[in-house]
Symmetry: C2
Subunit: 383 residues, 2 copies
């Protein structure tokens, strides 16, 4: 990038079923919180990450809607869509806007409103992340595609479904202390083992919930950083793609886009996996958590489940992940989740994570994945 970009404000709504709030209210709330946090009143641009506005809410033009609602007219405003990685891609867009000199101050907001539609409609809408011609039109849902990955993983590693329990348990454990999390109750290994199956072998406790929420970050160049800010630098930012159809990949268990986006972000930041203090992972399903850890170079297939069972990814472990509960327990409003990850990493790096604080917290990786790894967005953030 031609110049450094800093995050100087963060905001987020609680994640949950917000029956009284729409896209407009959720997005505005997060944007206003982020601006208040930065003590900034006007921005040059707003980039909105959102996936389901067209398929579920009857609302496109979402960025303009939010710029209007938040009193930011006539700011530049457009929406970024990268399936479940939309929120992270919006932060990427905002970073490019500032780094290019096109804008001085930009806000990126991820927003999703999923609970206004039937569960069948949401399921169909989520499947728009997959290949319409070769996957979703044949009846494959987003969960069932994940189930294919998990079944294959269990086959290759000869591990039972129960071996994935630690990922779900640590997410719920971390969410317990996060007032904005959707699920704040710890879960037991037994509950995980006996939960209802959604798409065998994926159970309800392997999967992130359908929910609503919005998260926002304010970005600017060094010239705009003020004394009251606790600026967090974006030292690495990268996006990589892979085939949209799972069948087209030589090894469906190798999330190549996750690996490439992470290694590119590490290279930009001049660091290695060992230098990362916390990892906000895309734990939409327990299988995706395992595959992400492997792809990013944090673990090997032979030992990732064992290390999870040993607590190495818990808040006090070697590499804390999903530190505020992750997609699994904080919740996964799809187009917003990538922005939540970045908000949470910023709070950690500022030392403002409260009961969720991990130590040390000098350098974080966030990674948001869309369409079973057809797209991945990675950011390295530094205090």
């Amino acid at each position: 990038m031609m110049r450094d970009v800093y995050i100087v404000g963060v905001g987020q709504t609680p994640v949950g079923e917000h029956w009284d709030l729409g896209l407009r209210e959720l997005g505005r709330s997060a944007v206003e919180d982020a601006l208040a946090d930065a003590r900034i009143e006007a921005v040059d641009a707003l980039y909105a990450g959102n996936m389901l506005g067209g398929a579920v809410n009857g609302q496109e033009n979402v960025a303009t809607l939010l710029a209007d609602a938040a009193g930011l007219l006539p700011a530049e405003a457009w929406k970024v869509e990268a399936a479940c990685a939309s929120g992270a891609a919006a932060v990427r867009a905002a970073a490019m806007a500032v780094a290019s000199g096109a804008q001085e101050i930009a806000v990126a907001v991820g927003v999703e409103k999923m609970t206004d539609a039937s569960s069948a409609a949401v399921s169909a809408a989520l499947a728009t992340a997959a290949d319409q011609d070769y996957e979703s039109s044949h009846g494959l849902s987003f969960v069932s595609l994940s189930a294919l990955l998990m079944r294959r993983y269990m086959h290759e590693t000869e591990q039972p479904r129960e071996a994935f329990a630690p990922f779900a348990m640590l997410a719920h454990q971390n969410a317990a202390a996060n007032p904005r999390a959707m699920f704040r109750e710890p879960i037991s290994a037994e509950a995980f083992a006996t939960c209802a199956l959604v798409a065998d072998p994926i159970g309800i406790l392997d999967a992130a919930p359908v929910c609503d929420g919005a998260a926002a970050v304010v970005l600017c160049s060094k010239d705009t950083v003020r004394a009251h800010h606790k600026p967090i630098r974006i030292s690495g930012s990268a996006v990589a793609s892979d085939t949209i159809s799972l069948a087209a990949r030589p090894d469906i268990l190798n999330l190549r886009s996750a690996g490439r986006s992470a290694s590119r972000a590490f290279a930009a930041a001049g660091c290695n996996p060992e230098d990362i203090d916390l990892f906000e992972a895309h734990d939409a399903f327990t299988i995706i958590t395992a595959l992400s850890l492997e792809a990013c170079g944090f673990a090997k297939r032979s030992d990732v489940l064992k290390r999870a069972a040993e607590g190495q990814f818990s808040r006090t472990g070697l590499l804390p992940i999903s530190t505020f509960g992750g997609l699994k327990a904080r919740g996964h409003p799809v187009g917003a989740s990538g922005a939540y990850q970045i908000v949470e990493a910023v709070l950690q790096l500022r030392g403002e994570a409260g009961l969720n604080q991990v130590r040390p917290a000098r350098r974080a990786l966030t990674q948001s994945i869309g369409g079973h790894g057809s797209i991945a967005v990675a950011h390295v953030l530094e205090a």
Copy 2:
């Protein structure tokens, strides 16, 4: 911008009803043509402008789909949505990517596939550009909102519907020589006056058609421009927003976003309206053409219709507009149109516009408008 950005390749599909082609095939075709034109085989990033994938095609994650189809993996890939200005906003995103140094070579592609759904479904999908809470959910369609603008304009200027005929006639006249245009037959003032009304006072010949198409441009920095390229510099690029709901504007006939985006682009390019040799206008409806010309400083409300009648906006007039037929007659595949405008302006500036060539053609303005002016994207291009 921190460094200059050049367009070194353009590609486009014919616009029409492509019953045998989907988003994947349309987008791939335009991208491959643009890369061939630039004699470039790989790019670092693909930004896709698309509006209706979620609402009409059951396909989000469109950018990854196209990067995959065009053999561009593992390029960065995400979709940009700004209602009917999506294609132009994707070019804006690509320009920021290159200007920021994040990427060296990027392709921006606008793509839309509208003819696979019923006319009622397309009408509902287009209304997602308007305010879902305060406009579209009450039955206002995109055409009927435009009809409100046109009726108000006729009231304030005391002009009849027939006074808008020159805009539709010049578009069809220009399209006649464009092999990629959807409507290549000239229309008469009488046909315009007697055509069926879609939403009074908007007739079928005031309105751009529902259709399919894709257009793409390859962008790079000066370092990558080669001897065989005929580089066109993006000397101005700007986006501005306005209220999403028409009712919230002090004067609905003042397209403030169009005015602001144009004046910002002019300022960046160091030029004035008088310095523009051709204007690719967002002529989705004849009323929008008139309002755009006014907003950009090319005409005054008191004389824009009279000047149109005098032929000043025709190919040999003072300010040629819609030089390949515009949205009206080349066709308006909504999320692609902004990219088509830029492709066409590049052909003009290169002197490769064939029978559509205007002279002189040294500096062009393109402007794409979403949601009745809630968002506008303007680019000044120079040979």
